[in-house]
Each structure stands twice: as structure tokens, then as C-alpha cells.
Symmetry: C2
């Protein structure tokens, strides 16, 4: 299972694919929370509030295939990170405006964390 998951190289990230991937409430919520979480990676399990294991696995794959997130296997977990740099170089300003626009809409602090702490160990 420590296999390499396919990620499109930065220069292949396509705008229609990115827009389509983000045009879903669940996936938008996932990237909004990833963005709020700063540089810290998160796991699929942290998004089970938004759907079943299967559903999250599906959405995470969509985000990965579109080039929006990077997924790194670590033990039985997957460490998810936003591909901020790649998206910024390809579509300057885009991700930030989406995140900012999402902030107003997102259910308040969907992770229910007072401040970091639940991923102190990495």
C-alpha cells in the first residue's frame, strides 16, 4: 500500500478540472479546512463528518486527480496537503479568492478545534 499515488505535474493542472473538482460542497469544505489548517497535513479520517469512508475516499481522489491536493501514504493513513504553490503559480490568486469566498459560507469551525493540538505529533 506504500505505492505512489498519481498526481498531475503542476504544468498539467487544468482550470476546468480544478473548477469541476471544487464545484461540490463536500470537496469545497475539505479544501477550506485544509487551508485553515495551514501547513499541517490532515487525514481522510478527519473529514468523516462530511460523509462515509467511501465517499471521502472518492472525493479525496477527485481533488488529487485535479491537482488540488497532494496525498502521501504514511502508515495506514493518508496525509493530505493543499498544493498551494503549484496552484498559485498556475492560477495566481485563484485559490486564495476561493478560500476567502468559502470562509463566509462554511459552517463555523467545522473541525471544532479550539486551536491546533489534535495533530501536535506528526
Amino acid at each position: 500500500m506504500t505505492e505512489y499515488l498519481p498526481h498531475p505535474p503542476a504544468e498539467y493542472i487544468a482550470l476546468p478540472a480544478v473548477l469541476t473538482a471544487l464545484g461540490d460542497e463536500t470537496r469545497l469544505a475539505i479544501i477550506a479546512i485544509l487551508a485553515r489548517n495551514g501547513e499541517r497535513a490532515m487525514t481522510c479520517g478527519q473529514f468523516l463528518q462530511f460523509g462515509s469512508k467511501t465517499a471521502i475516499s472518492y472525493h479525496v481522489a477527485k481533488l488529487r486527480e485535479a491537482g488540488i491536493i497532494h496525498v502521501r501514504p504514511e502508515g495506514t493513513k493518508r496525509l493530505l496537503t493543499l498544493r498551494r504553490g503549484d496552484l498559485e503559480s498556475r492560477f495566481p490568486g485563484f485559490l486564495d479568492t476561493v478560500i476567502a469566498s468559502t470562509a463566509a459560507t462554511l459552517p463555523y469551525n467545522s473541525l471544532g478545534m479550539p486551536e491546533a493540538a489534535q495533530f501536535a505529533g506528526e
Copy 2:
């Protein structure tokens, strides 16, 4: 046929719906060209390069329902305009970054116009 087409009021424009609507090459091309055309309205007929009458009618309806464009009947035509102001107030910076990102990808000058002129009379 001079009936009113339904448009969502600005405050009801939803980000997932906007992203979904733009996550299609044809619709992305349409809004990119509308954007390039400045304030000048355009008609459905000017987008037949991207599909049949039926297809364009379908895509234009999607863009309208998402709140991205405004459609005003004028004779047998429909005058299409980008809802720049509404989108800007709702999702600041978003449309501009999308347009800018699209510019690099779009087939060069899809309308083949040397400079305005084809809609001098309005």
C-alpha cells in the same frame, strides 16, 4: 417571448454553483469571451463556434441560473452580459483570477475580431 428570465439575486449566488457552472470548457470559453468583450453585450449566436444552437442555449441557461451572466431578451435575440459587479461583491477577486487564468489557455482570439466593430450598433 418578451418574458422575464429568472436570475438569482446577487446575495443568493452560491460558490459551488458558480464553480460547477464554470467547470466546463464551453462555458469557460463563453465567459472568457464575454469578459474580453468589455461592457458590450453579446448574443448566443456569437458562440455557435462552440456547439449547436441547442447546446449554446443549454450552457447559457446554466450560466444564467448560476448567477454568472445576465440575459436580456431584445427582439429575437438575447443580450448576454457578465454579472461582474455582483460576482465581485460576492466573491471579491474571484472572477478576475478565473478570467486571467483562462486567458493563457483560450484559443487565440476565438472571435476573430480585429477590434470591436461587429456590435457597433446596439
